[in-house]
Symmetry: D2
Subunit: 384 residues, 4 copies
Amino acid sequence: MKVVKDPVHGYILLDKFALGLIDTPEVQRLRRIRQLGLSNFVYPGANHTRFEHSLGTLHLVDMLLNTLSIDDEERDEVRAAALLHDIGHGPFSHSTEGILERYTGKNHDDVGDLIIGEIADVLETQSIDPSHISKLILGETPLGQLINSELDADRMDYLVRDAYYTGVAYGVIDYVRLIYEMEFREELLVVREGGLQAAESLLISRFLMHPTVYFHHVSRIGEAMLSHATEALIETGLDPNVLKRMDDSELMATLRSTKGYPRDIAERMDRRRLFKRAIYLGKDSVDIERVLEFQNQYKKIESEMAREAGLPGGYVLLDIPKRLEIAEGRSRILIKDEMKHLDEVSQLVRALVDAQWDNWKLGVYTPEEHRAKVEKVARNYLVK
Amino acid sequence: MKVVKDPVHGYILLDKFALGLIDTPEVQRLRRIRQLGLSNFVYPGANHTRFEHSLGTLHLVDMLLNTLSIDDEERDEVRAAALLHDIGHGPFSHSTEGILERYTGKNHDDVGDLIIGEIADVLETQSIDPSHISKLILGETPLGQLINSELDADRMDYLVRDAYYTGVAYGVIDYVRLIYEMEFREELLVVREGGLQAAESLLISRFLMHPTVYFHHVSRIGEAMLSHATEALIETGLDPNVLKRMDDSELMATLRSTKGYPRDIAERMDRRRLFKRAIYLGKDSVDIERVLEFQNQYKKIESEMAREAGLPGGYVLLDIPKRLEIAEGRSRILIKDEMKHLDEVSQLVRALVDAQWDNWKLGVYTPEEHRAKVEKVARNYLVK
Amino acid sequence: MKVVKDPVHGYILLDKFALGLIDTPEVQRLRRIRQLGLSNFVYPGANHTRFEHSLGTLHLVDMLLNTLSIDDEERDEVRAAALLHDIGHGPFSHSTEGILERYTGKNHDDVGDLIIGEIADVLETQSIDPSHISKLILGETPLGQLINSELDADRMDYLVRDAYYTGVAYGVIDYVRLIYEMEFREELLVVREGGLQAAESLLISRFLMHPTVYFHHVSRIGEAMLSHATEALIETGLDPNVLKRMDDSELMATLRSTKGYPRDIAERMDRRRLFKRAIYLGKDSVDIERVLEFQNQYKKIESEMAREAGLPGGYVLLDIPKRLEIAEGRSRILIKDEMKHLDEVSQLVRALVDAQWDNWKLGVYTPEEHRAKVEKVARNYLVK
Amino acid sequence: MKVVKDPVHGYILLDKFALGLIDTPEVQRLRRIRQLGLSNFVYPGANHTRFEHSLGTLHLVDMLLNTLSIDDEERDEVRAAALLHDIGHGPFSHSTEGILERYTGKNHDDVGDLIIGEIADVLETQSIDPSHISKLILGETPLGQLINSELDADRMDYLVRDAYYTGVAYGVIDYVRLIYEMEFREELLVVREGGLQAAESLLISRFLMHPTVYFHHVSRIGEAMLSHATEALIETGLDPNVLKRMDDSELMATLRSTKGYPRDIAERMDRRRLFKRAIYLGKDSVDIERVLEFQNQYKKIESEMAREAGLPGGYVLLDIPKRLEIAEGRSRILIKDEMKHLDEVSQLVRALVDAQWDNWKLGVYTPEEHRAKVEKVARNYLVK
């Protein structure tokens, strides 16, 4: 048994099996992947990594396994899934997620091909089938709900952790209460009535963290810049499967070592000379259905807008976020022993699910000196 | 200058004027009035007092006065109002509020007749007219909004403070941000757009604290018991204006020193042998308009129910809370330099204002051994 | 199982047995005894009670019992001792401790005669012999070290809790680490080498809390006033064994209901019109051995000083604290599997034990207007 | 005015001048330098940067300037020095400090040659002479004591910040009180008597953080490995003045891009396959004077030990820390208006200064499989 100090949860206990998994290169790499990508442009304290988040998820999963009285043989599978659930992330976490999905055809939860080598060897010591772990991480089996469902250990940890390191007040969740009030009913993870408020608090936290942290325009600008520069690397030969295994500093080193666009972007990031918003529109200012379709052809629209504004490619970035959803609304709660969806029971939750859309914002970003002309061009394409 | 350590805000600075007011008997008495009345039956840490809350309110008012650049001559008036705003509370704060209003015809904010004697002497040193202070506490003048309005220093302090001492996670408000984002527009205190989320967080906090703390059924039962025992004292001769000046321990000593009902209630409270819920109904289970009218004739209905259940008066308590309102929804926010109400701007706030009603609960309380029969009787009167 | 929210430890779990003990009048009375007596004159937040401290001690004892793998049959005895260890305290905790010891001949740890009635009934349900509990609370049996020894659950809880409610930064102890590093060796509770720093941190905390909180002169003045007023009650007929069962508000009510000295003191306390220091001397300014002997004849010296100063009895108070000791220095630590005393191993601990004496201060207190003349008189008696 | 959220201090206010300095490449580079070098091998949360520490130092300096009522024209100089005081650090902060000093002949506080270009331009806007800033950072002028002296804003910030991100409890300092109690006397920064305990708490914090964090053997092993690998780079041509301008990721990228020793070390670090302690000795086990002299010839001794153990160069690392000193003992305190050194006044401080030596430890590190034979060799060289 080893004990690791975590500023969020206090002491985290690690047994030999967990230590074995932690010592693999795939998990060690997470030490060098920032949890919040480029949010430290806005929140200077947000330098925490996927590694500590993975330890924190293990810690909460341990609490859940105790509360739920899960059998010993299944525990290690769930604990392994908790530790490994993020090894599919590329450098800078969500910042490279979109392009990795596009070029590899795989989501970061789809880690079957990474659970090999040393990881498989450690799993073997407990006679665990690697394919079980992949399924748990995808949330496909009942116990997978502890890791990947509407109210799971993953999001409990990241909300509290992101709040701790950004300093934002809104991440306060009564996760201890929430965990105490969980149980399985017909293979579904449910919250008992006594946990209703704790569940609501988790949704509220997500709701408030979205515009303040996760969708802060400065982070999104940084991410759009990084994503475009990385795409340029891929188009000039970088294997997306190599990219996926890089850490934050390897990607930055690669960008800096090029010439042209990627290097310019890397230098701007190093200097925090970020692009600015030429236009920034809520969903009521656009024809939302039409605009969401632009997501699939954003390169084409960017090129056109750049050409019209007299700028080279890569200097007009179009950022159209996905339709925002609060999946937690669909989590299950027991009211007088009857299973309901949280959004059936809680007027507040229904309201949050609706209000979430208010936070959706589309942006077009360009270097400061070109804002005026890009705004004019972008307006034609986007304003309804 | 003296410095006082406050666990919530750190150090609170007190100048000679503030110290003068603090040394008056009216403010010193607040040391002996618990902020949350009987909530320590549920939350053992909730023993904080109106005194420390008054210091905390002064501290936040000082921050507001700095942010708003208020003139020196007006500052001391507002600061005095912050320190004195709670001197009108009776023992156990809200637990005796209802009967004091009924028997004295005065609300606890109406403190004009208390700003005399030593307090008036201290105000005199700064040439302050006592009537100005009364008006500020009632929220009647523009600067009164800092103490008594939809988003004031009073509620910022108590939400954070109540959360600190109960241990409930939900009191986290970004009050520093909220204060930084406030200004006066045409004599109205408004929040700038950058403070929208901080304002929302205050409402969310109130929304979650309500059922968890302020309306917890165990506190309400304790308060109903105390309120009825105190009413019995008044009806056997206690002057309500003497009651109003008592502290918590004087009221308890008086109850214990009687015979009959008040003493029995005091003993039950000392032993935590509280009444239990015979019935507990949400607003959908009752004819709400009819039931709210019962508030004015609760003694009569209680007597009838007791008689039908074969119990002496005072052992069937009817607790009908007021219509719940979240006044904060009407606070003002500047959106693109235009003044709006918060509930116009924020879908979340509208939802909270609506959902608040879900927390309304009516209760009938009686000693444990009489629950069954009282339930039967109460059902006839209350269930629709 | 019931769960109680504690602001210090989070959730505290209570089983039926613990709830049974909590519901006894002896434990419920602790709700009305302030943990820090009159420290709220200095720290307005210090209104916490012996009740919540007893729950916190139970919580830490539960952690210790798990770490130490204690047998089931012994667990409930230790848990009962944790909950009951403070029922021997009089009103205002340490403020009445001295006179209670003098007039009843008993220390507050000596609770054998209180473990009767309802408490004995609850113990009976688990076939526990009440005399076992008394011994545990006195620290007489090996497991008693968890409650009453140099490094026990009692002081871990109160240091952290007193820091939380006063707001003083110095109570931060890594008690989780300390508990993890404890074991029994030959019936002695020892700390393993890995817990050395955590043990040092506990001593440092005590060392810093002493002058800042526990021996703050304003609290000591209040306590001297209360103690003398209470002694006057005893000398005019109050049974010390009745006094011992009072709560804070009963004692205050009794003082206020008298005439003469006790009432004057009660009024001064309600108004915070405290006596002031006429003289305040460190150990180097006095003949320490001679002065410590004065402890046994303080009434006589006080009378003489009052007479010389032309004041009535009770208006010159002599406060000579005991020799300060940091017992924790004698706690045991395992260094390379060899048992040592903490002060043998840690130069820091030796230094703290020595330096503690620097915090010893003797005071003579009197109403503000008499300071000058009392100082002159006191100087003759005390300065070397 | 811009406001930045800092998890440690809350909101930090930045005016145009501060923002101008922050936007320079020298300060932006600090975003990419971890404050605690390789401590995240031990404390996974310790990923905070010199950038946020610099903002925090500015924040505390602002508080100090207010308390001390410093003139406007001097304020901006001190504020600039606070923001710039760490720009002289190389990658991984203290990990490369030793070799940078050896190869460049300059300490990290000696930043005169870096205050040029954009920084000088920003200073020019306020007519500030760059050489004034250099002197302040070196602590050479009276106001330099706010940045670089025994009790300065720099160490107040880093102790609290390092505690926050490691999760170690020991960094709790009452810095607000300490700052409130500071003043200038004859150009010396002194603490008034009321700040004695706050000053002691800072020393205690340093004392406890040393073995727990700053000198944790795993960090020291990592640092020894990194330092030797970097030295190998210098000896094969890397310009130390280029090294000094690198950030953490550039140094790692450079190490990984080589062949041989530096690359092997980089891979070991990426995989957390660190060397282990072959020997680890306190000062009583060695001839301390002789051993401290080894610091100047460690390369030679390492080579000899490696040869004797049959290992290639770079695989036996000798780590001899400097004589530990707690400079804070020499800070000044006013006792009854007389200036004293803290260690004259406080027995505790004297004890800490002495006890600090107990934490001194010398280590010899080597890959795990060579520990036994290296231990044998090292013993001959080092054990007395």
